[in-house]
């Protein structure tokens, strides 16, 4: 058979990457007219653009429609390749493009790997990003330069795809770095806003800490296995006894930095300074799951030492508990969803810790859909309330925004109710945790986190939709926008269907032997949580005034306050003498302020020889040659 499925898949995916790469450089403004009926976006464009009424033409000076069209096509292509994989199960296709710097001891090659992980992730990321792009075309229309925004989103997606599809550590690092840098650009999108720039700084610095881990891993693997190829490293992980702890440390540090585990988490709520589509893209499918994805890719390395497993387990559990307990006391709707993202990441890392990377990846895929949908819902609420983000100013929105509110409820339910996307993976993870022999704390933490998940999800629902309206006048027409509704409904479909699809058609989820209590816990615990929430809401507010526990959860366990001060004091104490003696001491004299006069004097000296007399030139040349000869003869003899 000439056309093998692997051929189809590899060509499709290469084509997708290439088209995405090309679409970045596509700077042309999309143009279409009112008479063009078959284009669905026409209402939005006529709504948001300068229409001159004499000519019935609307000129769209925006690259948004182009990006949307590209992403739509690519999403369909990726789904096609995914279906090809469903039918005939393929192993990983390994494509080595060019041998780079071959005769150095370490050979570096552009090395792509198309395995099931990447194929599923590709389609999920493309569908989610397509919806987010559509939504952001609705959300960012008032922005001065929104075309650049769409382009940045596309570049971001491309970086993430490079990270997921590449097999050589250098490409992985490329995508990793690109993700960090693009997140910096996107968080500080409103550059005049001071909080935005400081949050962007925080994010990029924390990512640097994670990159230290990844670079450690790269360097040690180049030292150990003499290759930057991930498959080689994983296949030859027997002969690395001395350096294995450092390798694993690098990996865990990288993952913790990138996907905001406890200790390196503060940049993730800081992401919210960016526009809502950015938060949706970064939190759902691209940025924060990169660390977990790296752990999934390299999970074979974790096989040998058990202590690493339990460490990762405790880390993930702590993150889940921390984020969930913080989320129940926030008042910013985006912050609540961001912390729920963090707790879901903690669950993924827990799944890695108990040695079930497939479950972690499954949770990534299902989590992408409903988390993106939740963010888009909050974005639509925020946009309709004219940038009002505080929960206490929302209320009674279910009458104003029916689609949004239903999608919000669906997304909140997806974490705890059966037959929805989140439940498939989360239930599996909880089962695996309770069946694992590692640590009792893991299952405890994840169960508590699940309960708190129910609490904050229902808190959002309660505040947004059940209270009496307490907001300033919302735009009632915002839900007539096709981009908003299409995106929300598409993601809602994904939220309902993706869990069933993945678990039945793609992955073969393992089965565990657990007690009926542990099996029933994921069903029982949310109900308890919701009951507790309503109890506390009914007997609410005034009694919790001034309690330390409340302010502790509200201000994130005081982590940021305590740690910032300690870090700054420590680094000042450490670097005071060095900075005083070097940066503001003798090094300043020798270095920056010493080099300039020296080189100026030297260049003046060397220029004194340039008087345009040829005889002197020849004479001085001969003289200097003779000097050199004499010196060299003296040295050699």
């Amino acid at each position: 058979m000439v056309i093998s499925p692997s051929l189809i898949i590899s060509s499709l995916n290469l084509g997708i990457l290439t088209i995405l790469l090309g679409s970045i450089f596509f700077f042309s403004k999309s143009y279409f007219s009112k008479g063009n009926v078959n284009f669905p976006l026409i209402k939005t464009t006529s709504a948001c653009l300068s229409v001159n009424n004499d000519k019935e033409e609307t000129i769209e000076y925006n690259s948004g429609p182009f990006a949307m069209a590209i992403l739509k096509v690519l999403a369909f292509l990726s789904v096609l390749s995914l279906l090809v994989t469903c039918n005939n199960s393929i192993q990983s296709i390994n494509i080595t493009l060019s041998l780079w710097l071959s005769n150095t001891p370490l050979n570096i090659s552009l090395n792509f790997i198309y395995d099931q992980y990447f194929l599923v992730f590709l389609s999920v990321a493309l569908i989610v990003t397509w919806s987010i792009m559509e939504f952001s075309f609705y959300y960012m229309t008032e922005d001065p330069n929104s075309s650049a925004f769409f382009r940045l989103l596309t570049i971001f997606l491309l970086n993430m795809l490079i990270l997921t599809c590449s097999n050589s550590l250098f490409l992985i690092f490329l995508g990793w770095e690109g993700g960090g840098f693009l997140s910096f650009l996107l968080i500080s999108w409103w550059t005049t806003r001071n909080d935005a720039s400081s949050s962007a700084l925080e994010a990029v610095i924390t990512n640097r800490i994670g990159n230290i881990g990844l670079i450690t891993f790269m360097a040690l693997s180049a030292l150990n296995f003499n290759s930057s190829n991930l498959t080689n490293i994983l296949s030859s992980n027997e002969n690395l006894t001395p350096l294995l702890p450092f390798l694993l440390f690098g990996l865990i540090l990288a993952a913790a930095g990138k996907s905001a585990q406890f200790g390196l988490h503060p940049w993730l709520p800081a992401l919210l300074e960016g526009p809502t589509p950015v938060s949706a893209l970064l939190h759902s499918s691209t940025m924060v799951v990169a660390g977990v994805f790296l752990l999934v890719r390299t999970s074979e390395l974790f096989s040998s030492p058990l202590i690493t497993h339990s460490l990762v387990l405790i880390l993930g559990g702590t993150t889940a508990l921390f984020a969930a307990s913080t989320a129940i006391a926030q008042h910013d709707i985006k912050k609540i969803i961001a912390y729920s993202t963090t707790s879901q990441l903690g669950l993924m890392v827990t799944a890695i810790g108990i040695g079930q990377p497939a479950l972690a990846f499954f949770h990534i895929c299902t989590h992408a859909f409903f988390k993106a949908m939740l963010f888009l819902c909050s974005g639509s609420v925020i946009h309709s309330l004219s940038d009002e983000q505080d929960l206490r100013k929302m209320g009674g929105l279910s009458k104003l925004l029916p689609v949004t509110s239903s999608c919000l409820i669906l997304g909140s339910l997806a974490l705890m109710a059966p037959l929805l996307a989140g439940f498939y993976s989360k239930d599996l993870i909880l089962e695996a945790t309770s069946a694992s022999v590692l640590n009792l704390l893991g299952i405890v933490l994840s169960i508590v986190a699940t309960m708190l998940t129910a609490v904050y999800s229902f808190r959002i629902i309660f505040f947004c939709f059940s209270l009496s309206p307490s907001c300033s006048s919302p735009f009632s027409h915002s839900e007539e926008n096709f981009n908003l509704n299409n995106a929300l409904l598409r993601l809602a479909t994904g939220t309902i269907a993706s869990g069933w699809f993945f678990s039945n058609l793609l992955f073969a989820p393992p089965s565990f032997n657990v007690t009926s209590l542990a099996k029933g816990t994921p069903l029982i615990v949310p109900i308890i949580g919701v009951a507790a929430l309503f109890m506390s809401l009914i007997s609410s507010t005034s009694n919790s005034i001034g309690s330390n526990a409340h302010s502790a959860t509200t201000s994130q366990w005081f982590f940021v306050d305590a740690v910032h001060l300690s870090i700054i004091t420590m680094s000042l104490a450490l670097s005071f003498f060095s900075s005083r003696t070097l940066d503001r001491g003798w090094q300043e004299n020798i270095g920056p302020q010493g080099i300039a006069p020296t080189s100026t004097a030297l260049s003046k000296i060397s220029q004194a020889g340039q008087i345009g007399l040829i005889k002197r030139y020849i004479l001085s040349s001969m003289a200097s040659v003779l000097v050199i000869l004499a010196l060299s003869l003296l040295i050699l003899s």
């Binding site: 710097l101 030297l602 260049s603 060397s606 340039q610 345009g612 020849i618 200097s624």
Partner: protein
């Protein structure tokens, strides 16, 4: 000058270089060098402006003296070994004579004085010939020669020339002098690499010739001779702002550009031969080169000087060069090669 005469002279220059490169007889090599020099002299002073002819005289005298030294060395070689072949081992005196002569021809450090003056006195196109084509033959000889193994006579001058090229260009305001000093520095890089690997030196020569050609052609097209005039580029032809910027950075050796391979290959071989301290010295010299490359780039792209009315009015009519003109074709091709050709250099790098 008439078309046919200039064509004849160009063909003679090329044939002289080809004779030098393809022959292994010292006498024929001398004849070829003389041939290209004699043919180049009228080309250089075709403008007959006083500066022009002065530079021409300097060039002719330096080339004649270096040719005399070369012939002297060749005669001594032939007299001692009894054959004119360049493959014979050389003894001290003849090797000194020959290397000094070749250093004269390529303007290596202690004997580099003539080069900035000559290049400053000439228009850009003639300067292009001197700075690129006339360097091929002596450099190839030099490469052959450094294989014969007396490296101290080459390493010291090339180190000095890297440093001199850096310091000389630091407070220059003339673009051509800056280019001359940068080419002195690059000559140092080439020669010191040729002491360790012939192929690497050849590759570096090719890349350097391409980058230098694109630079000279760009400046010849834009007619900018001092740093102060550089800022008019952004009005004359906006596209060449990016070109000048990229080619300058490529000459400095910024990694994604082609010039990076030049420095990378050289440093690879130097460090492989435990040449670490001196190669760091060369890197320092190259940093000074980089300083004035960056100065040119800044003046080209980032500054917007207060200007007189002509250049400030001329942002409307940006100069259009027809793609059929050979100069435009050559400059575009060489610019693309000198900025984007790093994947093409990989096979070159692999054969070394």
């Amino acid at each position: 000058m008439r078309q046919i005469v200039s064509t004849f002279l160009f063909v003679t220059v090329v044939s002289g270089t080809i004779i030098v490169v393809s022959s292994e007889n010292w006498f024929i090599i001398w004849v070829g060098l003389e041939l290209s020099t004699l043919a180049l002299v009228p080309i250089l002073c075709s403008g007959f402006s006083p500066r022009n002819v002065e530079a021409d005289n300097k060039y002719f005298l330096v080339q004649a003296s270096s040719a005399a030294l070369l012939l002297n060395g060749a005669l001594g070689q032939a007299w001692l070994t009894g054959s004119w072949s360049i493959l014979d081992p050389v003894n001290e005196v003849t090797s000194i004579c020959l290397s000094i002569a070749l250093a004269f021809k390529i303007g290596l450090a202690p004997v580099h004085f003539w080069f900035p003056d000559v290049l400053q006195g000439l228009p850009f196109f003639q300067g292009l010939i001197i700075a690129t084509w006339q360097k091929i033959a002596p450099l190839i000889l030099m490469f052959y020669f450094s294989q014969l193994g007396f490296s101290y006579l080459l390493i010291t001058p090339s180190l000095i020339s890297v440093l001199i090229g850096g310091w000389g260009g630091l407070n220059q305001t003339q673009v051509r002098k800056i280019l001359a000093f940068s080419s002195i520095g690059n000559m140092g890089w080439l020669v010191i690499t040729s002491a360790y690997s012939f192929n690497a030196a050849i590759i570096m020569l090719v890349i350097y010739l391409i980058i230098n050609t694109s630079l000279f052609l760009l400046f010849d097209h834009l007619k900018v001779s001092t740093l102060g005039h550089l800022n008019t580029i952004s009005q004359l032809s906006p596209i060449s702002v990016a070109l000048v910027l990229l080619v300058m950075l490529s000459l400095g050796g910024l990694p994604p550009l082609t010039g990076f391979i030049l420095k990378f290959t050289s440093l690879y071989f130097l460090v492989a031969n435990n040449f670490i301290i001196l190669s760091s010295i060369m890197i320092i010299g190259n940093l000074q080169d980089y300083f004035f490359y960056l100065r040119i780039s800044f003046n080209t792209s980032l500054f917007l000087f207060p200007q007189h009315i002509i250049s400030s009015a001329s942002w409307r009519n940006s100069t259009i060069i027809s793609p059929l003109a050979p100069k435009a074709w050559l400059s575009s091709v060489s610019t693309v090669l000198s900025t984007l050709a790093i994947p093409l250099t990989l096979p070159l790098y692999i054969i070394t």
